[in-house]
Amino acid sequence: MKLMFLKSSPIKYLLAVVLALSSINLFAQDDDLMKMLEETSEEQNEPVIATFKTTRVINSHSTKTLGKKVLDFRITHRFGNFGAGSGGGIHNFYGFDNAANIRLAFEYGITDNLMIGVGRSKVQEVIDGFVKWRFLTQTTNNKIPFSVAVMGNTAVTPMRDPTGGEWTKFLHRVSYTSQLIIARKFGNVGSLEVMPTYVHRNFVDGDLHPTSGVQDENGLFALGVAGRIQLTGSSSIVFDYYYTFSEYRKDNTANPYYMPLAIGYEIETGGHIFHIDFTNSAGIIENQFIPNSSDTWTEGGFKFGFNISRVFTIGGRKKKRDVEE
């Protein structure tokens, strides 16, 4: 009885047509398997890879950490000042006769997101150890728009006390850096990162600012910016810069320090990554280049330098990762 209305023929035909259309629709859909596959397969929340090729941009840390069981041997070399105005020039072959700083380091990936490293620099004979942990990785679907890492280091100088007895305690030789690194990769164009940073030196010189009279700060806040512009698949232009917030460093004519700026070219060949760069800082670790870059680009105080990174996979091979279906 309820189906009585179906007896009126227009509705009957309409219904038949609608049903027939719906079945055609299903047919059509069934035949386009690729489209169906796209619709039915849930896209993985995939991590963005190669935001930076190596764990350093030039001097700065990048958000990259070494893969698990990967060992990285790094040589960071800075020649002397390039320009004659800062002691370089033709008579020491634009700084190539000198070595402003050399750092040799072994760095190792404990997990795919956690790494440690130990290095030794020429400047102040400083020995540094650091831990870096990347706790967020940018994803292709932008659910996580940034990669974020934290880096902490401790550096000790074993050099003979240059102050003539002011380093009364071992702790006077120690400095620390804590840093947050926030990076984003912009497709195949390049990557950019910012690094809010705090450097603490247990001992600072007692010199006062010539006009304001403030003393050098033990603790310094700095904000770093670094980037990578991709040229080809394996080469890029890289740069990093730090702005240090410091009263003592403001227009200090007696004891000037400058903001460290480095520009370089990065090339990757297999397991090697080379950087050739120019930087005004002699320091290679944050504890030195953030507070104590005493040369300026404007007077030729930049140095030619290079970074070499050679990675090895050591120990057992990487455990196979199951991809969630």
Binding site: F27, L37, T40, G67, G233, K318, K320, E325
Partner: protein, 184 residues
């Protein structure tokens, strides 16, 4: 009453149509490159595939980032522009027609070939690929093995690593299918 019958028939017909689709429930895809200096292999469990047994069409979709390597550095290189360029070409696909006799309702082993478009790194080639269906009860297994010549898909073999990467890589597919009802 006739109307009711035809409605039932159409609905039933739709249902039968739907039943003619088989969807992958499990998949295991590997590639293997055998070169003078180095063997490179990787595994992928994220492949999806559909077979329409009415039209005999097959579609396979392999997410490139789903390949897992023993060395993380290798995996990173594999995804780069020089090799697979997975950011630009996230999937390798095959879309083709299956030839040869097979019946998913009868247990047995069927040798088939599929002819169609193989797309790797954005380059589509017409390929004929041989495979085997093994039907046991509700489950259908597809096994296939074929070579992909790297040059054909514009995958570089830089001079420096010429002895590390084979000219063509062997790809194996092992996919299990189940009858699939599309959600409407």
């Amino acid at each position: 009453m006739r109307i009711l019958l035809s409605i039932t028939a159409i609905i039933l017909f739709n249902f039968v149509q739907a039943q003619s689709i088989y969807k992958s429930s499990e998949s295991f895809v590997t590639f293997f490159s055998k070169a003078e200096l180095e063997d490179i292999k990787a595994e992928n469990k994220a492949t999806t595939s559909l077979i329409n047994v009415t039209s005999n069409k097959i579609g396979v979709r392999v997410p490139i980032k789903g390949f897992s390597f023993e060395q993380s550095l290798m995996q990173e290189h594999f995804n780069e522009k020089k090799y697979m360029w997975s950011e630009k070409h996230p999937h390798a696909t095959f879309e083709g027609k299956i030839e040869g006799d097979f019946d998913f309702s009868k247990d047995g082993t069927y040798n088939v070939t599929a002819t169609g478009d193989l797309t790797v790194r954005g380059i589509t080639l017409n390929r004929k690929i041989e495979g085997t269906f093994t039907v046991s009860g509700e489950e259908v297994k597809l096994q296939a093995e074929f070579y992909i010549p790297l040059d054909d898909h514009k995958i570089e073999r830089p001079a420096l690593v010429l002895d590390n990467i084979a000219e063509k890589v062997l790809v194996t597919l092992d996919i299990t299918y189940e009858a699939y009802v599309p959600e409407k």
